[in-house]
């Protein structure tokens, strides 16, 4: 029982690094290679030239940028308002507000878009409010993607707002600064890194989303939709790779910049800081409260509409209730097995991903492996967050479909879905593990050596149990994301293993939007159940040990 000592820990970490290189680096390399390879095997820029000269591209590029900018402009203030309400006011029912603001995380981005069609489409409940406008195109896309991105921004801004130093506010008050002035001079500057990070993450998430553009895009083409059309509609993988690279570049730039901002944010609160507790302020609570209620109601209305659409016989002509849309075998998408398949995939992803990320992080943070290797691994582990799911999924399809590849045997199996999901969400799992491990006393390892205990004993008996709350959080994060993601699996799922989130997309494609809404809401309920189970586990753990702070920023911050 003396496994991860010097050399063996190094060997293990090397295996981890090689695995990441194979399942992350190589597919991306293949993607780049295919975008540059000619039919005769040589290198060429012809695909790029062809795409760049097509009239559609410039429109897609501009549209994508416009969409991203609009969503950032809407979501950042809205998320700030909610985060402010949760962290800096004395509003009642904060738990409910936090849950509603997080709800869009639990559904595929297609669902808010579907609900918008039922609310504001040509037969929408609230269509008269639009005065002749319809939801299709840019307006619907901006709203749907805003709903999908909101929870991510809220989490980042809550963390930014929770780390305030009460002493600054006390002194400002003594100097006679008004509440408004304190907000502008202390609160806003104090969370500027958080604001930048939130804006960048929202931008990256929005431009990488394929679900909402498919449902409400109308003629408003974006890059993510172009990739989907090239690969699924035309089976033109080379052209798909070209567009995927074009999408990858801005996403990667945004996320790398965000990581940079996040690392500066971490250092901005001094160790002597005094925790801030909001004082009573009726006016502030009223203004912020109204804003929060409006946003929360909008989210609740979207979810409720989707559920209503799922149980109404024929919108809008026959509003009688029916379960007929749950007879999924009558539609595309794989029937009820799509849900059970998704749950199974999410469970395996959660377990495998949590174990791999945590063990990898342990080896990279606390083992005696070589310093250079540790650095390489840490850099590799940060990569996946910067890559849109469509790009990673396409890279996987290209790399593993090659019969010459010894790993080809996982192509067309559930294995490739598990691998793609674990890699896609690896960064957050890794970073959460790292911050958990950093909070543990560095004296454990020397003590274990003195006592003659091996690394495995230490890891199994001390490190892992102490980290249990973080492990539950990571598993929950992986489960929920594996349930809702479309982009990373849409090019990979085998015909006999259909997935629920993809089924939502395929049913809507065939014009069956009510069953699509029904399936989308089932995903929500499965995820709520998972959250409840995870919450109970966390509560039990909290009773058992001293509470450990979970790095929420990391958890929901980065995951295109």
């Amino acid at each position: 029982m003396t496994l991860p000592k010097g050399p063996s820990a190094g060997l293990l970490l090397l295996i981890f690094a090689v695995a990441l290189a194979l399942f992350f680096g190589a597919p991306l390399g293949e993607l780049a290679w295919r975008s540059l390879s000619a039919a005769d095997g040589g290198l060429t820029l012809a695909h790029y030239a062809e795409y760049l000269t097509s009239p559609g591209l410039q429109r897609s590029l501009v549209n994508t940028a416009v969409l991203g900018a609009w969503v950032v402009a809407l979501v950042t203030p809205a998320a700030f308002l909610i985060a402010y309400g949760l962290e800096r006011t004395r509003l009642p029912l904060k738990g409910m507000l936090a849950s509603l603001a997080a709800a869009p995380l639990l559904v595929p981005s297609l669902l808010p878009a579907l609900a918008l069609v039922y609310l504001f489409g040509r037969q929408g409940l609230l269509k008269p409010m639009l005065g002749g406008w319809t939801i299709y195109g840019a307006p619907g896309l901006v709203i749907a993607d805003s709903i999908a991105a909101l929870p991510h921004a809220v989490v980042i801004l809550r963390t930014a707002l929770s780390g305030a130093d009460a002493r600054l506010y006390e002194q400002a008050k003594l100097l006679g600064a008004s509440g408004w002035k304190r907000f502008w001079t202390i609160t806003l500057p104090g969370c500027r890194h958080g604001l930048v990070a939130a804006a960048l993450v929202v931008f990256a998430l929005t431009i990488a989303d394929v679900g909402a553009p498919k449902v409400v895009g109308g003629g408003f083409d974006v890059l993510a939709l172009d990739i989907y059309k090239q690969v699924i509609g035309q089976q033109n993988f080379e052209m798909g790779a070209v567009v995927a690279i074009m999408l990858l570049l801005p996403t990667a730039a945004a996320i790398l910049f965000e990581r940079h901002a996040a690392s500066r944010q971490a250092a901005s609160v001094s160790a002597q800081a005094k925790a801030y507790h909001p004082e009573p302020d009726r006016g502030r609570d009223l203004v912020v409260g109204i804003g929060c209620v409006l946003i929360a109601l909008a989210i609740a209305a979207v979810m409720a509409t989707a559920q209503l659409a799922a149980v109404v016989r024929q919108w809008p002509y026959d509003l009688s209730l029916t379960g007929i849309h749950y007879d999924f075998d009558r539609y595309d998408g794989g029937g009820w097995s799509a849900i059970t398949n998704s749950v199974m995939l999410a469970l395996v992803t959660a377990v495998v991903g949590t174990v791999l990320a945590f063990v990898g992080a342990y080896l990279a943070e606390r083992s005696q492996a070589g310093r250079g290797l540790k650095r390489v691994y840490s850099v590799l582990a940060l990569g996946p967050a910067a890559v849109p799911g469509l790009a990673l999924g396409l890279g996987f399809a290209l790399f593993f479909n090659d019969p010459a590849n010894p790993l080809h045997l996982i192509y067309g199996t559930v294995g490739i879905l598990i691998a793609a999901n674990v890699v896609h969400f690896f960064t957050v799992a890794h970073l959460t593990s790292v911050s958990m491990l950093k909070s543990l006393d560095p004296a454990f390892e020397p003590a274990a050596r003195v006592l003659g205990r091996g690394g495995l004993t230490l890891f199994g008996r001390v490190i892992a149990p102490l980290s249990a709350p973080a492990l539950v959080e990571i598993a929950l994060y992986l489960f929920v994301n594996a349930m809702t993601t479309v982009s990373v699996v849409v090019f990979l799922y085998p015909p006999e293993f259909k997935l629920a989130a993809v089924a939502v997309l395929n049913m809507d494609d065939a014009g069956d939007s009510a069953p699509a809404a029904a399936m989308g809401m089932l995903i929500l309920y499965v995820n709520i159940a998972a959250r409840i189970v995870g919450g109970l586990a966390l509560r039990r753990l909290a009773r058992r040990s001293t509470p450990v702070e979970t790095p929420d920023t990391v958890l929901a911050g980065v995951a295109p």
């Binding site: 195109g137 109308g218 089976q235 033109n236 015909p495 494609d509």
Partner: protein, 338 residues
């Protein structure tokens, strides 16, 4: 000893069980999702030793997928794919020669001219107009009766049609316009139609489903879906345009050098059997075998007399060119504002 025997018997059972597990036959199809359960049940009854794994998508996607997998085919057989697509696949050497049992009795429109055949057809389907009578009368608009009607400015922003790149129904509609009106006038017609179109949809069913629920009042769509939606009691008029309707044939074939070639042939035999034909006859007004067809509820009885004079071979040979030109003209152009 006794235990030994027991163990052996169990091992033997497992082995036999393992061997007699049904053979998996991968079938690519563009058949409508709600038709497939009946087909699966019928085939399973006839051939329990073969398990069907369906890969279903729109015609264009299935065709593109088969072409993309040319070097390492994943499919064993193709079912209910447009004959025009089958011709394109065949020109790439993707279909193996096999004349299914009873092929000689089929309507000549449903047969490949080669001997042995590379594909055989089971049913004929067409593209017609689904018009939501409730939505149109609310706007005080008449139900269109011809293709030409659809270009009238009164229908601006009210029409959806399937994208011919992905949908077989979309392609046959475009192919028929080009052949009925002539190429130049055909494209000119589509230019005018384009200014009334709201969206070009992925599937041939979606425009009629959207018309049925009033989301887009008029949809150019597959006849089968029109009958289904009208049968569900929705306010639809199923219009056979006066100029005639375009059509194509749903066809089946065996993939060349398929992994399960024998099972694939068995499957195609079933697809051309009278049992299977009777199932198609519930969904389509014209099927391959004589004497099986019956009137389809909610479809105009005289639909088969309004079929346009269309040469499927022409559409098949020009499929790539038509789709490229269509995409150049309309796909990269954003849907018109309403």
């Amino acid at each position: 000893m006794g235990r030994w025997h027991h163990g052996l018997a169990i091992a033997g059972l497992i082995l036999v069980g393992g061997c007699s597990r049904p053979e998996r036959l991968v079938v690519y199809t563009a058949a409508e999702a709600d038709q497939i359960p009946a087909y699966t049940a019928s085939f399973k009854k006839a051939h329990p030793e073969i398990e069907l794994v369906w890969v279903r998508d729109s015609t264009g996607v299935v065709t593109a997928k088969l072409l993309a997998e040319k070097k390492a085919p994943q499919a064993d057989a193709v079912f209910a794919l447009a004959a025009t697509s089958m011709m394109q696949l065949d020109s790439q050497g993707l279909l193996g020669p096999y004349t299914p049992k009873g092929a000689e009795r089929l309507d000549p429109r449903f047969r490949d001219t080669q001997q042995p055949a590379h594909w055989t057809g089971e049913a004929l389907w067409s593209a017609l107009i689904c018009a939501n009578t409730h939505e149109l009368s609310q706007r005080g608009l008449p139900v269109p009766t011809s293709w030409e009607d659809l270009t009238k400015p009164i229908y601006k922003g009210m029409i959806a049609m399937p994208n011919p790149a992905s949908s077989g129904t979309g392609l046959l509609a475009v192919g028929a316009w080009l052949q009925m009106f002539g190429e130049d006038r055909g494209w000119a017609y589509m230019d005018r139609l384009n200014s009334n179109i709201v969206s070009y949809d992925h599937s041939g069913s979606k425009p009629c489903k959207d018309a049925a629920r009033g989301e887009v009042p008029i949809g150019i769509s597959i006849d089968y879906r029109a009958a289904q939606e009208k049968g569900a009691g929705l306010p639809l008029a199923v219009v056979v345009p006066t100029e005639g309707v375009g059509w194509d044939v749903e066809a089946s074939g065996v993939i060349a050098h398929a992994k399960h070639e024998q099972a694939a042939r068995t499957f195609v035999d079933w697809a051309m059997s009278d049992d299977a034909m009777r199932l198609y006859a519930r969904n389509f007004s014209l099927v391959g075998a004589p004497g099986v067809a019956q009137p389809v509820p909610n479809l105009p009885a005289d639909l088969s007399t309004h079929l346009a004079k269309v040469d499927l071979r022409w559409t098949g040979q020009n499929r790539d060119r038509i789709i490229t030109e269509w995409t150049r003209r309309y796909d990269s152009k954003s849907a018109p504002k309403q």
